[in-house]
Each structure stands twice: as structure tokens, then as C-alpha cells.
Symmetry: C2
Subunit: 151 residues, 2 copies
Amino acid sequence: MNETHRTNTDPAFEAAYEAAQKSLREGGIPIGAALARGGEVIASGHNERVQHGDPIAHGEMSALRAAGRQKSYRDTTLYTTLAPCAMCTGTIIQFKIPRVVVGEAETFPGEFELLRARGVEVVVLNDARCVEMMRTFQDEHPELWAEDIAE
Amino acid sequence: MNETHRTNTDPAFEAAYEAAQKSLREGGIPIGAALARGGEVIASGHNERVQHGDPIAHGEMSALRAAGRQKSYRDTTLYTTLAPCAMCTGTIIQFKIPRVVVGEAETFPGEFELLRARGVEVVVLNDARCVEMMRTFQDEHPELWAEDIAE
């Protein structure tokens, strides 16, 4: 993991961050994701537990749903503001997405070991905005956060 | 795994099987699932790749979406007609569902090793109807089946 906190300027990561911010404005859980191919964003999405009562709609899952049916994901990268949970990790493995770019893993550890064991490249940005966004949310809505990670 | 093929009469498993049959009638992929608590079916669902162009809507995922927000899954059992893929396996682990009842694992091996490594009880019914249903589908729609498992 990187030691430095820095602001990211990758447009696909920014799409993931903007999706998280949109969810926050809607009163939802501020986690966003984007699927990109060759630098182009195919789709983005955010957690929809609050907005649609949908427990499987983590940010990564919403982005993949929004991307619709793809013949292959082998040339894609998934961007996400927070380290992927077991559901999203299993999905990345199943879809054979080779690379995941993660905003931060300080407020939730995710399943990096499983991802890497299955050959997925994991890049952690340690994005300070993402850490601040999640820490504030976890402090203000502990019950909602616990529900989202089934604690 | 059991050696015998038998017809199952558990109502929750029948709900999963009926959901798979409904998907088949709709021209979709015939995989169904149901979430149950204390013998009562909370919700069922089926693969919706064809029906809604939704790549994350495997049977198990659809059943969990249909069940809506649950405070806990620790007292639930997930029934599914086919061995869970990595996405559905990751979801079972993430949601802390302790037990999975699987119709068959002959036509797709699933991720039993990962499930069991994470403490999930896996029961395989070797249901002959499920084997026949999937084998026929895989023979008739090889491209759709390949897409659904990202091959």
C-alpha cells in the first residue's frame, strides 16, 4: 500500500468519486465505482441500499449493472472509492476483471488477499478525500454502515 | 457430495426451482434461488441477464435483492438450483449466510472450497431435474451460458 495521501486525477476514478458524492447527497451510503476500458468510462454507479432498498447494490455492483452485458471484462479496470468487500471481490473474480483501482482501504480492509490470490492486480490510491468521506459517514451513521457490511 | 439423484421436496428449494423454470419460460437462463428463514421463504429470484440485461442478476443475487434490507442473515439459508459462482459465493460470505443448499454441481462446479473455507455449510442435493434443466440449456445456448460465467 502507498504511504502518501494524494489527490487523484484519473477521470475514471473521478467518476467513481463523483458517484459516491451523488449517493451522499441523496442520503445514501457514499461509495462509488466506475468500469473503464482503455481509459474510457463505460459506466459508473453507487451504493443503492438506502435509495432503492437494494442490499446487493454496492458501488461496484451498481457500476457493473449499469455497464450492462459485456462480452468480456478482460480489458477493463474497475475503479472504486473503497476497498471491495467479499461480494464485490467475488464479482471481480467471476467477471475476470484483471485490475482494480481502490480509493482507500483505511476505513474498511476489503478482500485484497483473495483478489491477489486470484490474480487480480490491486492498486490503492490512499485518496484523502475518500478516507474523509467514509470516516465521516461511518461516524454519523454507524447503524447503516454496520448493515451494509452485515455486521 | 451425495451419489444419489433424488427429487427434493423442501418448499424453499422448490421455490428456487420454480424461479428457474419461470426464467426458462421467459427465454432466460434457468437458474433460481430462494432465501429462507426458519423454513419460511423470504424471497425467491432467478437469473435476469436476458430479461433485464443485468449481468449481476444471478439467481442468488436476485433472491437477495428481492428479500430487501435484512438486519441479519445469520439465521437464513440460501437455496439455489446450481452451485454458486464466485460472485454469489462472495455475496454469501459477505452477508454471513451460514448455509447454502445447492440443487446440483455437475454442470458447474462453483466455489465450494471457498465457501467451506469461510465456514459456510454447503449441502448438495444432486437434484436430477436441475441437472437436466442446466444440461439442456447449456447444450442449446452455449454462447449465453459462456457469457453468464464470463468465459
